[in-house]
Amino acid sequence: MINGQGESDDHGHDGDLFVAPRNYYYRKTTIPKEAFNVYVVGEDINGAPFQRLAPGPSPSPSLGLGLSPSPSPRILGFPFSQATTTPVSAHDIFKGMIPASMSISENSTATITSTCPTCQLTPSLMPIYELFTAGGVSGQVWGRGTIAMLRLVMTAILMWNL
């Protein structure tokens, strides 16, 4: 651990020695493999134990670390029965959409695979993927996640309200 009270050899433009505040801490750590909160435990000035939770949305592997709500890939380019559609990541964290373009007919299914380098989805998390048209959401499908990979199976009948 590095405490902010430590010295630095980095001098500011005015020649002053940079010293971080003493309540700053820098530590090397390993990112957990499931959703987490961050706590600090210690003793207060009177020697009494304390515990505190880090504020705000905690970095969460399931959400691409720190985002809420969960990002989703969006599928654009309706109607599926006629045109080629293009899977697009809404938050630019889903990479390598395969296929890059596709078509799908009524009552059929298709599979889109994408990698998500910053994601880890656990079986308990079942993200909802929204199917978008130019006019808005046309339907929803439910996907299953595994580590670093998303597999989306969509059913054309869900979109038949176009």
């Binding site: 405490n3 820098y26 090397k28 390993t30 000035i45 970095p59 630019d92």
Partner: protein, 97 residues
């Protein structure tokens, strides 16, 4: 509810309807900041919070920056922990050393 005193507290619930329980308090000790950081910058380089897409996959090693406000006993005694967001007991997932 009366003002809490230091120590363990107990709450009794009557009935079977859904409920939530919130416990709030004020303290001079605050965990004010937690970020994964990376060293970057050109002329004025330093440690900067990572954007979401910059954070490496689970299992990767990364630097974390924390700020604690208030008076505590000894910074060397502070321990930072990852705990599961779900499940009973908030399972310990790892420590930030």
């Amino acid at each position: 509810m009366p003002r809490f005193v230091a120590g363990n507290q107990a709450v009794s619930v009557t009935g079977d309807a859904a409920f939530s329980l919130s416990v709030l308090g004020e303290s001079t000790l605050q965990f004010s900041t937690f970020n994964f950081v990376s060293f970057s910058g050109a002329r004025h380089d330093g440690w900067f919070p990572m954007e979401m897409e910059e954070i490496p996959p689970p299992g990767s090693q990364v630097w974390a920056h924390t700020i604690i406000e208030g008076n505590y006993h000894n910074w060397k005694d502070l321990e930072f922990e990852f705990r599961a967001k779900t499940g009973s007991g908030r399972k310990l997932l790892g420590k930030i050393k």
